[in-house]
């Protein structure tokens, strides 16, 4: 059982490796290689929309990888490369979209909902505390009435 589990874990961990498209680009430094990797993993393939361009085998993703490599060789920085692609494919290619009027809800919606949740929770707690603070039992005049009724009761009893 343990062995089977281990095999599954190792197999699953290999999936990511097996999926990545294989290119043979030569980089001058390891830092450049890492930069290429983060860039291609951060950009979305326009054709096969749920993959980044690092993983995709679509022709357009290959072209974009080649283009990113070319721009890196030219000494362009990350922002220039991203701007170049956004100018052609729109913000759609970014897996990390900028905050604009259109993406406001995406960026701040969850935070807003969380705050709403806290407000509702606070209201409920305050109400509950108020209820708890209210005196338990009977008020003075109610107690008087009850006593009166209790003392009267035997008199009213009819046999």
């Amino acid at each position: 059982m343990k062995r089977l589990l281990a095999a599954c874990v190792i197999g699953l961990s290999l999936i990511g490796v097996a999926n990545a498209a294989i290119d043979t680009y030569v980089f001058k430094t390891d830092a450049e290689r890492m930069r290429y990797r983060t860039l291609t993993e951060e950009l979305r393939c326009p054709k096969c929309q749920n993959q980044n361009i690092a993983d995709s085998d679509a022709p357009i993703a290959m072209d974009l990888r080649a283009e990113i490599y070319r721009m890196m060789e030219e000494g362009k920085d990350n922002q220039q490369i991203i701007d170049y692609l956004v100018a052609r494919y729109g913000n759609f290619v970014l897996y990390n979209p900028p905050v604009t009027a259109r993406t406001m809800l995406l960026w701040y919606g969850p935070g807003g909902l969380l705050i709403c949740g806290f407000i509702v929770l606070a209201v409920i707690l305050i109400r509950r505390r108020k209820k708890a603070a209210a005196p338990i039992g009977l008020l003075a005049d109610e107690q008087q009435r009850l006593d009166a009724l209790l003392t009267q009761a035997p008199l009213d009893k009819k046999d």
Partner: protein
């Protein structure tokens, strides 16, 4: 007040339902082009037919459709007869032969008719990249100044042309003749 609070879940449900309902009719493979209302990118590329170089100046001057196509693109074959019909009505169509073999493209045009006024050969896909093309067929609608006004991704069939593109094209033509 108390009563109104009871309606909150209903309101949330309705809001979610509206979003989900809208989502049913959105096409996720249709991305808005980043190039709408921007000038058509400049290029210097050979023509598919004849030994000449074409540039942006050659496709400016009149409203036109710019159709990205290739012989390896199966849906382009479906679209081609429709383009032939559209061209017969006097519409300007320019072609961009995207990442294709020139000989194959010439053979294709001979076999299935040529609806294009001019065909730009883009074997490496450089113009395609500048246009944000991510698959063929794609069609751009440009005005007489070479500004991209609309982009259609996918096969143009008769109803797409009649209902979506023809009115837009006509509007551009009317724009030019005040």
């Amino acid at each position: 007040m108390k009563r109104l609070i009871l309606l909150v879940p209903l309101a949330i449900f309705l809001a979610v339902a509206v979003f989900l309902y809208r989502g049913l009719f959105l096409n996720p493979s249709e991305l808005p082009s980043a190039l709408i209302d921007k000038p058509f990118p400049g290029f210097e590329l050979p023509a598919v037919e004849g030994d000449k170089t074409v540039s942006l100046a050659d496709i400016k001057g009149k409203p036109a459709l710019v159709n990205i196509w290739a012989t390896w693109c199966i849906s382009c074959k479906v679209e081609h007869p429709v383009l032939n019909e559209i061209a017969k009505t006097g519409v300007n169509i320019y072609g961009v032969n995207y990442k294709d073999d020139n000989a194959a493209a010439q053979k294709w045009l001979k076999e299935f008719q040529n609806p294009y006024q001019l065909n730009i050969s883009d074997p490496k896909g450089t113009l395609g990249l500048d246009l944000g093309v991510y698959g063929a067929p794609e069609t751009f609608l440009i005005d007489k100044n070479g500004i991209i006004r609309h982009k259609f991704v996918g096969v143009i069939d008769e109803s797409v042309w009649r209902d979506q593109l023809a009115p837009l094209y006509q509007a551009l033509v009317d724009e030019g003749t005040p």
